[in-house]
Amino acid sequence: MNAHDWKNIGPLESIPRSGSRRLCLRQAGRPIAVFRTRDDEVFALIDECPHKKGPLSEGIVSGKTVTCPLHNWGIALDSGEAVAPDEGRAGSIPLRVVDGNIHVYLPEPAVEAIA
């Protein structure tokens, strides 16, 4: 993991408690949902429900679970796994908090690295 692959996306407070905001990537790819629990834990998932691609960032966050607004699938914030008995997984993005700022792990795409 190269240091510059960790992107600072701003202070913890920029995400509402028991809530989420969407993070878009300049180059390409699916948006990311960054979640903050009531206990100030933060997680990042691909912002697509494994069921019908609903925007998880608009769901209700309870504990470490978000409920998709479209069809009420529960998704575990730490793993991206659908809560049983549903089956499926939203991609999970590594994340850490440094000095109150959230950093997500987004390696530069290979093409960019060559350019």
Partner: protein, 827 residues
């Protein structure tokens, strides 16, 4: 194939003459033609009416405008031609000569027969009263009668129907549908007393009374008055009813004159045996003119059976036997469901009656049991199980095992009785869709229950999604669970969610009595299993607290579904829709300019007029929402709360200001109601409407609260909704002033807010608690009503705030903006 001794007596080509061209006659001919033996007849049919064969039963539907005459024709002329049948219409048979074996018609046509079929039907009974001969008096028997009634309805106003049986009621309803003011005179205290018991008869009368038919029960007609046209009906007790049209529907009597003259055995009707033969073996009779084992017939089902037997007999089948079976009746009035069969009440102390009465839903069911067998059923309001009951009666099935559940209907009785219930869901194809929202079929549910060993409704929901959305199919899913796992899901308590053992009422009571003022306090006090709750209980608790502690409890946005959090409706592509409020459906050129400008400026792809008299802007990007609202706000437009469990629209008609029928200022009243109630949070969405006259153009009778203006004031209706589970409102009260309407509306809103379960529309709530309860709280308890309204108005002081204005001014800005973009890409 047939035992043809009978036919052996016939010449190779035999003459069959049919007297009568009605339903019984032609069904018999149809049956006959199905048989090989039918081919040797040359058939001649005489009909007194100038028409081809039509479905007399459907005359009611023609009268009511539900059907056209040509839609009730059973066999067109072409059918007669194709089958080589000679049809003579408009020519009544006047004589049968049994010695010469001929029949002769009024016009003098004489036709010989080898076999004769008499199907002369019945004629209307007429009371022995003066005035029957006046123009404007008719029966309700044939097309000519219907023509008279329709002509009267076009030019005259007042109709009186004499007779409150099946036919009379259908005539009354048809004339009412045609715009006449209709009075119905009935000799007995309750309607349809031969088919319905008193309770069901009263429900029926109440419903038809509500639909504008005036009833004069226990009314003995004395005279039809008028000079050269019917003008009034006079009753023995002195009552007098204006009448331009008088319809006699007191009953029918077999039409037997021909048979009498021919010397056939006659009693009340033409006596026939089980083989449908009269006392002359060459003469058969079917239909309403016959008497079989002492019984005469007025309903179609046994007549079809007679036709079948008679057709077979004519074709030489000597084994065909007619046996009268238990009969059922139903009424053909749109939206009035009545079914009855067999005994109407217990005959003696050893018979048992079981009754289910649900006044607020207009449902009444009664079953009569004798020696463990069903012998009678009367259904009002919910009749889908009628044929099932009828079959149980006919099969003389022992229903002792179902006794306690029988009155609740087929699904319930069978779902709980193991064996019998298995038949239904067993027989249901696996691909029958149960849950329309999530596309889940019966097979999916059964498979999940069996392979995963599911035993509760919530497990089935979790695994299959069946009944997880709108919940309409919950009952069916419960029954499938009962069928597949033998579990009675209904016995389990309906908790708020899996986080708690408490139900909605217990949670609300705890909030009030223990003064719980935060979600954490509620969860602690009631021992929630998850400290933060879940997506089901959090919105409910948030609402209950908001309702209980106005001005104190602060709304928790994170416990709201996205639409309520963002004050816009999320669409399937992740964009949002925006619906500004149009008070009472009124708008101005300036508002329309603002809406048009916004749509262009933000490239809003779809602009649609909603069913609630507003304009929907669809396809707005989330980050544009505050700017869109700001522009709309400049023109004075505020949120229409089209996304909220709160007051949505107040639909109105133009009322007396413009409409020639308008009785009150319905638009103005609608605006006042909307100004009073907007912004409130409620258990589920709430829609109002105000109609300026009983024509009800604003569709007030399917709203949570509807007002129908009348000359004398305002009818306030509650508890209706459209949608999947359509429910018409119940009348709450009639008041005389706008102020009273506003007070009742406020009080109703507050009662609903305080007592309904979260996510429960007012329609199921009123159905659950009963309109009588709502009346007790709002109509009979004036002080309570006043207090409810005061509480509502107090809570509204915190609620009538435009959320769009707040957000356009910068509130919760982060909620609408994504985080700043970062470099990177994801596969």
């Amino acid at each position: 194939m047939y035992i043809n001794d009978d036919l052996a007596r016939l010449p190779p080509v035999a003459q069959l003459v049919v007297i009568g061209n009605g339903m019984a006659a032609m069904r018999t001919v149809e049956e006959l033609l199905k048989h090989e033996g039918g081919k040797r007849y040359r058939i001649t049919v005489f009909g007194a009416e100038p028409h081809v064969n039509y479905n007399r039963i459907m005359l009611s539907s023609v009268l009511a405008g539900d059907k056209q005459l040509d839609e009730i024709v059973i066999n067109p002329r072409q059918w007669y031609e194709e089958n080589g049948i000679r049809l003579i219409t408009g020519d009544e048979v006047t004589a049968i000569d049994r010695d010469a074996r001929t029949v002769t018609s009024a016009s003098g046509i004489c036709v010989p027969y080898d076999r004769l079929l008499i199907a002369t039907g019945s004629k209307p009974l007429a009371p022995r009263i003066p005035g029957l001969e006046l123009p404007g008096v008719c029966a309700f028997r044939d097309i000519a009668d219907v023509d008279k009634m329709l002509a009267a309805a076009r030019t005259h106003k007042h109709a009186v129907v004499i007779g409150g049986g099946l036919l009379g009621l259908e005539a009354a309803w048809g004339l009412r549908q045609r715009g006449m003011s209709v009075a119905l005179v009935h000799l007995m205290p309750t309607l349809m007393e031969r088919q319905l018991d008193a309770a069901a008869g009263q429900l029926l009368q109440r419903e038809l009374d509500r639909r504008g038919i005036a009833f004069f029960t226990e009314g003995q007609t004395k005279e039809i008055g008028g000079v050269d046209h019917a003008e009034r009906v006079l009753l023995e007790d002195g009552r007098e009813i204006p009448a331009d049209l008088v319809v006699l529907a007191i009953g029918i009597r077999p039409r037997i004159e021909l048979a009498v003259a021919a010397g056939l055995e006659i009693n009340r009707g033409i006596v026939v045996g089980d083989d449908m033969r009269t006392s002359d073996p060459d003469i058969f009779a079917v239909g309403e003119c016959v008497e079989h084992r002492g019984q005469v017939f007025g309903l179609v089902a046994p007549i079809w059976d007679q036709a079948k037997v008679c057709g077979a007999r004519l074709a030489g089948d000597q084994a065909a036997i007619f046996a009268s079976k238990a009969l059922s009746t139903s009424l053909k009035i749109t939206g009035v469901d009545v079914f009855s069969a067999g005994a109407l009440m217990a005959a003696d102390a050893s018979d048992e009656e079981i009754t289910l009465r649900d006044e607020s839903n207009g449902v009444y069911k009664k079953i009569v049991l004798r020696d463990g067998r069903l012998v009678g059923v009367v259904l009002y309001g919910h009749v889908v199980d009628g044929q099932w009951y009828l079959k149980l009666m006919r099969d003389k099935e022992d229903v002792s095992a179902l006794r306690e559940r029988l009155v609740f209907g087929k699904a319930f009785a069978e779902a709980e009785s193991g064996g019998a219930q298995a038949v239904d869901y067993e027989a249901m194809p696996d691909d029958t869709q149960i849950c329309g929202c999530n596309g889940v079929c019966k097979g999916d549910i059964v498979k999940a229950i069996r392979t995963l060993k599911l035993t509760t409704l919530s497990e089935v929901r979790a695994h299959t999604k069946a009944s997880a959305s709108c919940g309409q199919c919950t009952g069916q899913v419960e029954q499938i669970l009962a069928y597949a796992a033998g579990v009675d899901a209904r016995a389990t308590k309906k908790t708020v969610c899996d986080c708690t053992e408490a139900d909605h009422d217990e949670v609300r009571a705890a909030i009030r009595t223990q003064q719980l003022k935060s979600m954490d306090a509620v969860r602690t006090a009631l021992g929630w299993k998850k400290p933060e709750g879940c997506h089901k209980c959090r919105p409910a608790l948030n609402y209950y607290l908001l309702c209980a502690w106005p001005g104190e409890y602060r709304d928790d946005a994170s416990s709201r579904f996205v639409n309520e959090r963002l004050h816009a409706n999320i669409q399937k592509d992740g964009t949002y829709s925006v619906v500004p409020r149009m008070w009472g459906g009124l708008t101005t050129p300036a508002e329309l300019h603002a809406i048009a400008d916004v749509a262009e400026k933000f490239h809003i792809p779809t602009v649609k007029v909603t069913g609630g008299q507003r304009i929907d802007l669809l396809g707005v990007k989330k980050e544009d929402l505050p700017a869109v609202w700001s522009d709309l706000g400049q023109a004075g437009l505020v949120s229409g709360h089209a996304y909220a469990k709160g007051l949505r629209t107040v639909k109105t008609c133009v009322g007396k200001e413009w409409c020639r029928f308008g009785t009150q200022d319905s638009t103005g009243l609608g605006v006042k109601l909307e100004k009073m109630c907007w912004g409130s949070w409620t258990p589920h969405k709430v829609k109002f409407a105000v109609s300026g006259c009983p024509r009800n153009c604003a569709e007030a009778s399917i709203k949570d609260l509807g007002v129908i203006c009348i000359d004398a004031g305002y009818d306030i209706l509650v508890g209706g909704n459209g949608g999947v589970d359509l429910r018409a409102t119940d009348l709450l009260v009639r008041v005389s002033s706008e102020d009273e309407v506003l007070q009742y509306a406020g009080a109703f809103m507050q009662l609903y807010r305080e007592e309904a379960h979260y996510m429960e529309r007012s329609a199921p709530w009123v159905a659950r608690v009963g309109i009588d309860y709502v009346k007790r709280r709002l109509v009979e308890d004036a002080e309570g009503r006043e207090q409810l309204c005061q509480r509502f108005l107090y809570s509204q002081t915190f609620a009538r705030i435009d959320p769009w204005h707040e957000r356009a001014s910068g509130a919760a800005a982060a909620a609408f903006q994504p985080l700043p973009e970062v470099a990177g890409a994801l596969a």
